[in-house]
Amino acid sequence: MTLKQFMNEAISPWMREEGPDSDIVLSSRIRLARNFSDVSYPILADQGKLEEIRDFFKKEYEHQSFQDYEDFAFISIPDLTAVERRVLVEKHLISPHLSKSDQASATIISKNEQVSVMINEEDHIRLQLYFPGLQLPKALEKAFELDDWLEEKINYAFDETRGYLTSCPTNVGTGMRASVMMHLPALAMTKQINRMTPAINQLGLVVRGIYGEGSEAQGNIFQISNQITLGKSEADIIGDLQSVVKQLIEHERNARNRIMEQSGKKLEDRIFRSFGVLDYSRIIESKEAAVCLSNVRLGIDLGLIKNVSRNILNELMILTQPGFLQQYASATLTADERDELRASLIRERLQLEK
């Protein structure tokens, strides 16, 4: 396994599989934060200690398989170029925080890109795992398997009352962040999502745009995740999350039907105009691309656009990010150059489907 393989394709191999409710739920993710008991957290630990942790992973786990996940690649973050770091962030394989770290930071990524372990992020270990569609219980089960396996070898920082001890008090307890990425164009169009957010917050869950809190939902992609990590078991947390997501799916489907009934022609027009823009434009900004991709994806879900694969949204949303574009061009690009390359890559990609 080499870095190059992760860089070449926008879509991770696991994304090619369809999961339950894949029309609306793009992915389910579980992230567990863990720390070595006797080493200070990365914000304060001395370089030598952090290197020991990194080398532990490098020596012990390079080329070893966590059961189902084939090979792993070990990647040292400080060895990467700025563009390579960005691409890993855009593929959601590492966090922006890790990508900026030069302190003995590293990652281990499985060949199918389903599992990644971030080393010396805010916590010593952050294990994350993706599944296509809505599959939280399955993702949790697998995350626990990997965690159990690590637990045999590492003395975790754990306290009877507080649970897994983490650098940030927002993660203490389970150390678990479970999240679901959803495409909710109809709830966004009708502004229903804004009205639902406060109720969701009351359950200890948060709704955010794709690139995190405070950011706009690019391409109508929303992330729903748990805020609370203390006082509830992991199973209860994902149970609550799963049930909210199921309700959102139902509301989204209802909203789609209602829009189709009440203003079907308008919606159809919007979808096909977006398709036209993607198919013919010579210059396109990332925001416009995201809007059009969301509309086209909706068109595919509604059966209006045929012969274009559903994955195109996931794929192009990532492929048209600045890091990926520059990786593709093997050059640093100005904003104008990126807008041009973005348009031509999208046209090329759509051509493949014809």
Binding site: D38, V39, S40, Y41, I43, L44, A45, S95, P96, K100, F144, D147, D148, E151, E152, N155, Y156, A157, F158, D159, E160, T161, R162, G163, Y164, L165, T166, S167, C168, P169, T170, N171, V172, G173, T174, M176, R177, S179, G204, R208, Y211, G212, E213, G214, S215, S225, I228, L230, G231, K232, S233, E234, D236, E285, S286, K287, T334, A335, D336, R338
Partner: protein, 182 residues
């Protein structure tokens, strides 16, 4: 003013950047700010964290107020393991090591309660190597909390079921302890 990066969209973000002690004015549009990394895309918990820092400070302001009325604290609380002081913790909102949780334990509950909707105790996974005793103990605690709630809700039927589960778990752990002795 036009964005200094793309030179075609209007600059909507203006700020000062300090690199190696040199200050420069930056005027960019939102698109370039994101793409050029002036605006880090906030990952989970970042702006929440800013909010938290505010909460911690509020918390300490109240405490210091109370303290100055009674007695003055001479020495600042500091973690013996990593050296993190209470004031630094309040500023950064992050612990320096696992021992910090013990060091600041007296101040922790109000903070955790705010962050975790009133919760201060872990009810989730326990590392296997911590032993079965702890698992049983935790399970018992959570059953007892559940029992309490069910009684409050006057849901006696389910309460009875939980009570049986508690009894079974207690019997089981007693017999396994007896087994260890033999």
């Amino acid at each position: 003013m036009e964005c200094q990066e793309c030179q075609h969209r209007p600059a909507t973000l203006h700020f000062t950047q300090v690199i190696n002690g040199n200050k420069t004015e930056v005027h960019v549009c939102e698109v370039c700010a994101k793409e050029k990394g002036y605006m880090t895309y906030p990952e989970e918990g970042y702006s929440l964290h800013n909010l938290l820092t505010g909460l911690f400070n509020f918390d300490s302001a109240m405490m210091e107020n109370q303290q100055s009325n009674s007695y003055k604290q001479v020495k600042e609380l500091k973690c013996p393991q990593c050296g993190m002081s209470l004031s630094t913790f309040k500023k950064v909102g992050k612990f320096g090591c696992a021992t910090c949780y013990d060091t600041f334990s007296g101040r922790l509950d109000p903070i955790l309660r705010r962050v975790h909707s009133g919760n201060t105790k872990h009810y989730g996974k326990i590392p296997k190597r911590m032993g079965g005793d702890l698992h049983t103990k935790k399970q018992l605690e959570s059953y007892k909390a559940e029992l309490q709630q069910l009684i409050e809700d006057e849901n006696f039927e389910e309460a009875a079921q939980i009570r049986d589960k508690i009894k079974a778990l207690q019997d089981q752990s007693n017999s396994s302890k007896a087994g260890d002795d033999s």
